[in-house]
Symmetry: C2
Subunit: 545 residues, 2 copies
């Protein structure tokens, strides 16, 4: 027997409609790409998003068509999202930080028909778009006054493009499973893969993220999303802030410490979200200038493990609460949060730190499990490593044009991470599955050894990879890049690790290199390291040869 409640599909047009109806004068403030601070409101954003919709419809865009954006966090970008999604087209967020060849591959794969682009990215697109024949139109997110004479005539400006359109447009009215957004993973292995979000998944993610123990935004908050809209939906802030009528403060192209600090203070920001490097830059700026944080209450940190020093600096020096978060493009993205449970809240500040350094616990709506190589559930004891598996309405079951499901028999998506979950339910990422070292049937965390080794005073960078071993299958190899001018012997590093890790975790060899290669996002490029060391053999194996 079915219930007798209303059919009210969870489509995202309702989010901005809600903001426009109940918080019409609430501000969206942008540090514009052109330079000045630009102030608009949810009422205006909604009306202009309707103009975007009409411009798309006039241009022949139909439900299911992909419309790309390549843009910073701005009010105009927000209008584009709602304008595209409102008529059932798919908003494809392109990451401008990728290599042009990769961007063109993605555009071809997505078959984007229009690209809405911020001025700085126009030259790159113009130089390469011959390799992406699906693109019929380039619309630059600026006005005619800021048109660059170098742009050809067929390149439109956003204000001219939407200016002629009506502010009335029928939105929604389709199935909540309709595709709303498309975002490609950076693809450290193989080709990039497109995650195709639905209206339902983004709407449910909005509700989930609005819980007090997740983002907990209120109508009285002012929110600055530093995390880009092209990176896992800006962690959902483009939906959750209008969903509650919170003020939005958009940083545009400038993410340096001084620029972020200025916006935090002048706009009375209470909540912000970014990766650790952004916070590191902000803290350095505050250190250097003696600046204060007078309105900020809470920051969410994710994208990489957050160092204890950042958590302590925010908390102890500035009275700002840090919430550690973990998620990925395939999970919309938020999966776990470090907000204190009742048991953790009962601990002392110093005791709590161990939990705050972990990636946290899942909110209602996310199912989380650890599974061993055989697919059996691993215990939640904080010791057992397992493949981190997630399930939920906000989790991908496949990739765009990817053919078939990517979930296991129990419906879980494999995150590709190795993690522990402790008795209090706190998850900690210990390694990427492809980086974990399998020695004699047991797992060794490459990341844990790396973190310890890079703490050696002579180390600039350290990497650990598993190398083939005749007896143990794999054993850890420690690779070290010394600070300029330093010299060291391998034994110094092994002595540094002694007592800090299990004896059988000790690397079988230490190799010093001129430089450890880094990837586009600043992380150690283990794929490349493995290539460089493909012919390496451990000393014992060399002796046996």
């Amino acid at each position: 027997m079915l219930g007798l409640m209303q059919d009210w599909p969870l489509t995202l047009d309702k989010v901005i409609d809600h903001a426009a109806a109940w918080h019409p004068r609430r501000e969206v403030v942008t540090r514009s790409i052109e330079g000045p601070i630009v102030r608009t409101t949810y009422g205006q954003i909604q009306r202009r998003a309707k103009q975007v919709s009409n411009a798309l419809l006039s241009g022949g865009i139909r439900p299911g068509d992909r419309v790309a954006t390549m843009a910073f966090n701005t009010g105009r970008h927000l209008e584009c999202w709602y304008g595209i999604m409102g008529v059932g087209a798919v908003c494809h967020t392109l990451n401008p930080r990728l290599h042009p060849e990769q961007i063109c591959w993605i555009i071809r794969h997505a078959e984007d028909r229009i690209i809405l682009v911020d001025p700085p990215f126009v030259p790159m697109l113009l130089a390469h778009l011959d390799k992406a024949p699906s693109v019929q139109k380039l619309v630059v997110l600026t006005d005619e006054a800021h048109r660059d004479p170098a742009w050809p005539a067929h390149v439109l400006t956003y204000e001219a493009w939407i200016g002629v359109e009506s502010e009335t447009c029928a939105w929604g009215g389709f199935d909540e499973q309709t595709a709303a957004g498309l975002c490609y993973t950076s693809g450290t292995t193989g080709d990039p893969k497109g995650v195709l979000y639905s209206h339902r998944s983004n709407f449910l993610h909005t509700f989930m993220s609005l819980q007090t123990d997740v983002m907990g935004l209120s109508a009285t908050d002012a929110v600055l999303p530093v995390v880009p809209m092209f990176h896992a939906n800006a962690w959902g802030v483009a939906f959750s802030a209008p969903g509650v009528g919170a003020k939005l403060v958009m940083p545009g192209a400038r993410m340096d410490g001084a620029s972020i600090h200025e916006l935090l203070e002048t706009e009375g920001v209470t909540f912000s979200a970014a990766v650790p490097t952004v916070w590191q830059m902000l803290l350095q700026h505050l250190d250097a200038t003696g600046g204060q944080l007078t309105t900020l209450k809470k920051v969410m940190i994710g994208g990489a493990a957050c160092p204890q020093s950042i958590i302590r600096a925010f908390d102890e020096r500035y009275g700002v609460q840090v919430i550690h978060a973990w998620g990925m493009t395939e999970t919309s993205p938020l999966d776990t949060l470090g907000s204190p449970s009742a048991e953790v809240a009962a601990l002392s500040y110093e005791e709590q730190m161990a939990y705050r350094l972990k990636q946290g616990r899942p909110p209602l709506g996310v199912e989380l499990e650890l599974k061993d190589d055989a697919g059996e559930i691993s215990p939640h004891d904080g010791e057992a490593y397992g493949h981190l598996m997630v399930k939920g309405a906000i989790v991908a079951r496949g990739y765009f044009k990817g053919g078939g499901d990517v979930v296991d028999d129990d419906g879980f998506f494999d995150t590709g991470d190795i993690a522990t979950i402790d008795a209090k339910g706190y998850m900690q990422i210990t390694d990427r599955a492809k980086d974990v070292i399998k020695s004699g049937g047991e797992w060794i965390s490459s990341i844990e050894i790396e973190n310890l080794a890079s703490g050696h005073p002579k180390a600039a960078l350290a990497a650990v990879i598993g190398m083939p071993h005749p007896k143990w299958d794999e054993r850890p190899l420690l690779i070290v890049q010394l600070k300029p001018g330093e010299t060291a012997a391998g034994e110094e590093f092994l002595a540094h690790l002694e007592g800090k890790i299990a004896k059988w975790w000790t690397p079988d060899d230490v190799v010093f290199v001129e430089s450890i290669p880094l990837g586009a996002t600043g992380k150690i490029d283990k794929k490349l390291i493995r290539k460089q060391f493909v012919d390496y053999r451990f000393p014992a194996a060399r002796a046996a040869q």
Copy 2:
């Protein structure tokens, strides 16, 4: 084109499963019907709910069957909810405060097969159940040690009934539109009507209520729902508290000021929800005893307009934030909340009070409109009255066995209330639609005149009804019950109203009565008053006869 996200139906078994997985040791504390304080946990609640499911299945209960509860807020009642809903049966919450004849009518209409009942209600049920032949089994929510010798042998006790069952049971796996709960409106006009909630509507209500500006519960909260689980789902707390891992404190049968105060203090309660009369009793108890509220932070007040004196007492004397809420059985129930928007938060404490007295603004997920008699949208100016209409996934579209939709052409459900919405988006209920007085095409609020008239020092109670008028269609008649020993002339009351209401709102006559009839819920029974005054004519009309 559809998105490629996981199919993860919003079924309520996932709520208690989440609590059991991530907050297994979090307490559910009950002032038991037998007397002592009983402590259990979400882990135990989930396992015992599975035993309930197995007992139901053993008894032949199948998906869609109605299983009734007639119980106070207790841990056992919570187990029953999840046990019933988990296997796709419908949990029908019976209101023990109704007249036995009405209860039997409802049981017959719902075709309940089993009733899970608290001990105090057993005699009433045994005396009347011959009128409800669908009921095959009575299970009393106690153990064998507390079996009343007066109960016949076929009456089971809960602990014996579930004790033999396994703690393993497959839950869920059905469509999220599946019926989960059934609750009848008290039915001030006509027969009671059953609202048939779905798993989806209750799950979405849970997400909506967990927003910071709604209930905003956290894992660190301890929640005491005074509002009964048989009254509009205890405002969703039986789902939202386990959904975040908040401690639940269940008051059982004792809702007096001293009992509630004791639980608030001994269990460290931070959040509570109840109707104004409960809070009035608590405040009187605190006044009388000098008691304090050392852990309570926030109370939600709904079910009737909250007097300013209660808001001020909590805020000014005890530092407790009062959130005014409005909703109804047909809307799951929460529709609007008085949490401050940014514009209201910017006002002074005294300026804010005008908004805190209103019923508030809708959260994301609720659409709210005012419509005039012709179905046209009324302006949001705080002046224009309109029929209050709601739309959303948590709103009913029909009644159980009711035949057909109860929504208008735009999909809105008519709440039966008359309200205003001001320019800041705050809604205020001004009258019930059937009580509003239509004079010369304009509307007069009966409630507003009543509130003013009952403030006259000589008045015990006051009621205002619309009476037929040859020229104006209807005109207000003021009916007053004086305090014992008082005498007054009608002119004294009209003079008291002068300047406080528009001149044309002035009642055409004042009538004094021995006693104004009250309904079961303590509200003025206008249906009965209208019957008593059916032959009444205004003086002018009498003169003309």
